[in-house]
Every structure is written in C-alpha cells, then in structure tokens.
Symmetry: C2
Subunit: 328 residues, 2 copies
Amino acid sequence: MQADGEFDLIARYFKRPSPGRMLGVGDDCALMPLSAGCELAVSTDMLVEGRHFLTDADPESLGHKALAVNLSDLAAMGARPLACTLALSLPVVNHAWLEAFSAGFHALARESQCPLVGGDTTRSESGVVLSITVLGEVRRTHALRRDAARVGDDVWVSGTLGAADLALRLVLGRLPPDPERLRATRPALDRPTPRLKLGRYLAGVAHAAIDVSDGLLQDFGHILKASHCGADLWLDALPAHPALADLDESLRREILLAGGDAYELCFTARPLWREQIEVLGRQLGVPVARVGTLVRGQDLRVLDGAGQVVPVAYRGFDHFSEPCGDIA
Amino acid sequence: MQADGEFDLIARYFKRPSPGRMLGVGDDCALMPLSAGCELAVSTDMLVEGRHFLTDADPESLGHKALAVNLSDLAAMGARPLACTLALSLPVVNHAWLEAFSAGFHALARESQCPLVGGDTTRSESGVVLSITVLGEVRRTHALRRDAARVGDDVWVSGTLGAADLALRLVLGRLPPDPERLRATRPALDRPTPRLKLGRYLAGVAHAAIDVSDGLLQDFGHILKASHCGADLWLDALPAHPALADLDESLRREILLAGGDAYELCFTARPLWREQIEVLGRQLGVPVARVGTLVRGQDLRVLDGAGQVVPVAYRGFDHFSEPCGDIA
C-alpha cells in the first residue's frame, strides 16, 4: 500500500477549502471565531461497524448518516453548526468506499454549513469505527437544555416517528419481507434529516428539547428526569409514519414509543407559543405535533384515546445492555 | 450485564461537576463560552488498541496519554484548553480498567483545566478504540500556525528527543533487553507531558509550531511545506535524551530525527526573540534548544558538527504505510 499514506487519505478525501474566517484541515488544530453573544455547543458520537451500521451499508448513505446523527444533537440544542471533525479507523484502504463515504459526508456538511475542519485516520484490525464531533454556536441563554422544561409546558414532536425503526426490523429480517413498506421507510433509516432549522428557530422560544435517537419514551424521559417533571403523552396524537398504519397494534405502539433512529425533535414549550410553533412548522415544511403536557411529579404516563393509561414496559436502546452484535 | 447501561457508565466514570460557566456531560451538547478576543481551536485524535497502545497497557497511563497527545495539539497552536470530549468503544465492561483509565484521564484533565464535557460509549466487537476531541481558545492572530514560519527564523525544540521512541523499541523487543535504559525512558512513552504553558507563552511571540508526534523530520517538514521554506538543522544541537548517550551512532540519529511519540514542541521564531525564549524556558522549567535556521528553498538539510550534510532517509510513522499491527 505504498502511496496510501495517512496524509494522502486526508488530502484526497477529506480536505476541502475552508470558509473565509476559518483555518481547516492541515494544522495541529482547526481555528474558528464564534459570533458575538454566542456560546459554543459541542457533541461527540461514535459509530461502530456491526453495531450502528451494517458491514454492507451503502457508504454514501453512511457518510450522510454519521454526520446527520451528530448534527441532530446540535439541532436539539438550538445551535447553528460551525464545523465538525472526523476520526476514522479503517481495516483496509478501499478507495471506492472512501470516495462514496466522503461524498455523502461532504454533501450534508455543505448543505448544513458545517465544514470538516480536522480529524484523524488510522487503521484498525477489525471493522470501521467513526467518531464525529460537531461544533455549533447558540445565543447565550437560548440553548434548549434538557433541564429547562416546566410543569404546564406542551410536549411536541417534529416530523413522524417509526419509519427508521420499521425499516431496520425489515432489513434485519425481524419482520416478514415487505418490499413496499421497506421502500417507504428505508430513506428514514439511511438518510435521516437533522432538524437544524427547526431547532434554531425554537431556541429562545421552546424550553427543553432532545432528539429522538434511542426511542421517544427513553429520550423524553431524560428531559423529565433533568427537569424534575412528570408528563402525560397522548398515544393517538403521536405522529406515526404512514407505513405503520396497518401494523399489529402492539407492534405499532412499541415502534412509536421505543423505536430508535428517528432523529426528530421532542421539545417542550409554554402553551402561549402554541400557535407560533404551528406556524413555524408550516413555514419550515416540518410537521409539528402536540403530543402531551408536563405535570408535577415524576411519572411518564401514556394515555389512549379514552384517557386510559396504556401500560408501557418499553426501554430504548442501550449499547451495553443489549446482546452483543446488535445493530442500533 | 444488567446494570451496566451506557448511561450508568458515563455517570459513574466520566461525569464530573462542570466549571461554573459550562454545561457538561448529560445534555445533547456541552455548552461553554469563549473569552473575548479569542478564537476556538479544535483537534481530534483516535487511538486504537494494538496500534497506538498495547493490549496490556496500564489503563491509568493510557487515560493520561490519550488526553496528553490531544492536549499537545493545543500546545502546538498556542491555545489554552477549554474542554474535551471522549468517545470510547469497548469490547467488554471491565470496571477495574474503566476506574483506572478514567482516573488517569481526569487527573490530567484537572491539571490542564480541560474538563470532560461530553462523549459517547459504545461496544466494539474487537479492541478498545478511543477518540478524543480537545477544544481550546487562542487570542486572534496569535495562533502558532504551520504556515507562519519565515526565512531567517531560528528553529527550536523543547525538552529532549528520543526517550519515548527508545522505550518503545525496548518494550517491543526490537532492542536487546536493557532494564536500566527502559526505566529511564518509559515515563516519556507512557506519560508524556503536553507543553501547554510553553505553547501559550509562545503564542504571539513565535511564528510557527508543531508537536513532534511522528518524528522530528516529518513533523518539522510539515512546517516547511506549509510555509514554503527550507531549513538547516544542526545534528549536534538536537536535545537528545541522556539515555541515548552511548547508543550506536546510526541508531541514535534515527531515533533523534525520526523517533515518534515525543510530544515536544518544534517552533520557529525571529532571532530577535532568542534571549527571551531562553529566559521563558528557564522560567517554565522546560529546556529549549536552538537547533537550526530557516532558509530559502524547500530543502531540509541536516548538518553535522563539521557543517557536512548528513544523508537522511528517515520517514516518520504513517499509519497506513507501516506493516499491519504495528504500534506507533
């Protein structure tokens, strides 16, 4: 592998011209200014082959998704992307794979104005491991923190829930083959859309937000725990993806309430803002559904159409509790 | 592994109280302000078991080193540490290992005022993979960029060179056993000291800097390439670690010029600053050696005591060019 030096790989696949005020790939550190009145928002996620993506995953989609799931954390904080770094560990240098991966990555980086400014490539003995750190900025006091929800807030969810989880079950053969349903849901699994604009416009308006990556109940539960609130969620108000329509009811509920990989925002806001949030959703072309209310206490109740409590025993995905080798 | 949830691992080993103005582990993003007049400096490095550290590496030293090599990038930029994130992929949950690793990590984080503010834990099928991102701040226009060296600058190296590389050769059995030499050099390999204070005081004084991680010639070569300069380096002026004293001369040269893992700063500055830099080194207790001068052209020449050119054919370490399974 004579010519495939670490530095050549970075230059070839990852170095891009940096925006004006920024020093990007090729120094000890990347440098960038922050806007006046803003603070820095930072998030890191790691994706492991065979665990977060399949070995035969389409590399272009993987490049998109690896960045998208990180950008989703900025969205959930109400932050505007500034830049990202990528650490990439590869068992072999496969140029076709790198070409497609970097194309998917850079396309979303461009679209999100989140240029790659640094990183590391190294060789691993086993599968591909990706670690991405995203940097953003958010106006001081406007960040959508998990501990900022208040009793009386409305609970909202963007987009629809369940498509990615359903697609994953079909891909893994955990449901009987269903090409039509797979076609309708696979894009949600492979190329999730981080809700960056929605998050930015909600900053300063909403109280708390989180992105739904491990399942609605688990992720929303983090807000409740951090904010010392309880909540009632209305099952029938949850924005189910159309492909869930005629599933077995208990499976449908499980996917809605505990399905991972949705990358939609779950946020809370004063009822005062109800109409403005609906208008905002229409302006951005992002559906927003009001799905519950925050109450005193610490219980998270799911209510059916008749106001009856639906027993839920679902937990989201937790990498160290699940059986080895699972994909999340 | 009932209770070893991902969230429990983060809470138990990695969550620490965050400094006053900062939001740390436990939200979608960490938040932090930047000082007025500063820009953000960011760097990411990945460490792979069996490649960057041995499987039986002492976990406390590993925790120290993983952060140290990243802080060294901030030092080489002249930046003050703000915070760091850690992504950690583990084949099994070994509490003794995590305890020791996080102790080594946090001890250096505290000492360097670089708190861990975010990250990710996941399970890998194979070895441990670590990815760390460090964030720092540096006064605008003061950063020690690689492309800022000028013809006529002095070339300087901090500390001593060669100890870590010599220790690694002894550990790997590439040199005959020599317990005394190993005792003298092993700390340099296991617990390198990032030159943060030196870097910060050089910001605004020196022109360009880089940290010596892949070998002096290779790393210094990046400055020359980015700054469009050549250089003469004086072999006899290079600050060799005492343990190199009575080595075979060609091995000694190879270790001095191409030995990795030194994490000393190589920097360039106007001759005007010569005396101040020497005083600074004494004040900080960090030896600084003047080892060469920048010249027109693009050649990097190494000269012996008689002013004769020493033929060098060394290359530093490049993860994708070296034989598989090597440790760097």
